[in-house]
Amino acid sequence: MSEKIKNWLEVRIGLDELVRTHITEHRVPKNINVFNTLGTVTLVGYLIQVISGIFLLIYYIPHSEHAFRSVQNIMTKVPYGWLFRQMHVVGSNLMITAALLHLVTIFFMGNYKRPRELTWVGGVLMLMITLTFGLSGYLLPWTQLSYWATTVVTSIPTAFPVFGDFITRLLRGGDIVSGITLTRFFALHVAILPPFFLMLIMSHIALIRRIGLSATPFGRSDEEKRPLTEFRKKTHPDGHPYYPYLFQKQLLMVIGYGMVMFAIITFTPTFFFPEEATVPADAFKTPENIRPEWYFLAPYQMLKLIPNKFLGISVQIILIAVFILWPFLDRHQEKNIFKRPVLRSVFIFILISLIILMWWGKR
């Protein structure tokens, strides 16, 4: 039976050749490891968000008078509504974590270097979009936490002279966060960001396939002669076949991701729901200790430390520009980070500072 199906497809799309070139004969470097699967894990994380999000969309009402009740309805009356909501909330935090880990490992392995600069740029843009997904989605349940965290984060642009207030008013649709903010954040979250993200992910994957997977530079030294002056797709003729070798690893990591998600949902279901996340928004009552979400804590804390608001936000923008354009700034030939002690130390220093800033911002 399956032979007949395969044959049917073979005649119409040339199934055999597709399977050969992309699955069974596609070769990956011998020293590929689990860290190389983080990109796939992030992608699967995104798919979980999309699917759970679409189901939530069926019962959610994006109006300030009904949003909170509709989410309560999903959590208490709709059968298994709690499951999809929990997956969406936990999933959003896990996806951002996976994206950040993916970024750190790519940096560590020097896989942003020529000819992969565009892949890096696309990836950083996707991270920015993911954070915007997080920001816009956070407001939708219309709880005290949503309302006030959004107020704080959307007030950050006011530090910018001339345009700052305008940008804040544009984000909020007015002077304060209100029902107007809710509808535009909803449009952003559901209709504006997904197509951009989709375009970026497709070009990201197309570039990876076109250029080929780079060999991990530790252990065995990369025999590629640098600098590269002409296009050459990177192949690994003596590497492992993608299926089953790398496929297994990806599957295991995805299962691991699912296990972390369900461990949180089972044992600490209120991990992402502090008290203010269970009461409806009240524009007249500011809770104590309002803070943005964890992934915005480090920049927020950094802004708090710099005395001049304008200087603070400019430093942030410069850091983000350096971050996006890093492959163009770091032209060093050496790809192996263990042979570059200065870069390694600065990188670790930045990572630790960000973690400290995040912890500090949490207090």
């Binding site: 189901f55 069926i58 009356k77 709709v78 059968p79 298994y80 509504g81 499951l83 999809f84």
Partner: protein
């Protein structure tokens, strides 16, 4: 060989189990709500509430007060005070609703006149058809 195929079967079993544990909730989630859980309307005869009087009814497990306002017709409001939840009472001579717990006062449209209540009393949809009042 035997071990490998056993493991593959086991894998298929687990795969099917995980698929089912999402497919079943999904079907239940999308299925239309069972029965008329929301639509149990309450019907009272008009003559049960003479002008200037009120009646408490239970609609959808919620306490509701129906008032026959002199000159302005019938209105159904939630009886639950928006302050801490005590049940408000109709004060005919004051043309207002008052809460016995902390003296929250509302007018006959549900708007807060004085006291601690933070929000007006929600209105419940009410229709008058012939000799009957239909709430809900």
């Amino acid at each position: 060989m035997k071990r490998r195929s056993f493991l593959k079967v086991l894998l298929t079993v687990f795969g099917a189990a995980s698929f089912a544990s999402f497919a079943y909730p999904l079907v239940r989630y999308l299925a239309p709500p069972g029965g008329s859980a929301e639509d149990k309307k309450v019907v009272i005869a008009k003559k049960e509430i003479p002008a200037g009087q009120s009646r408490a009814v239970l609609y959808n497990d919620k306490q509701v007060i129906v008032i026959n306002r002199p000159g302005k017709g019938f209105i159904a409001l939630s009886k639950v005070c928006t302050h801490l939840g005590c049940l408000v009472e109709y004060e005919k001579d004051k043309n207002a609703l008052s809460c016995p717990c902390h003296a929250g006062t509302y007018d006959l449209e549900g708007n807060v006149l004085s006291g601690p209540p933070p929000r007006p009393l929600p209105k419940i949809p009410l229709k008058v058809e012939g000799e009957q009042i239909i709430i809900g």
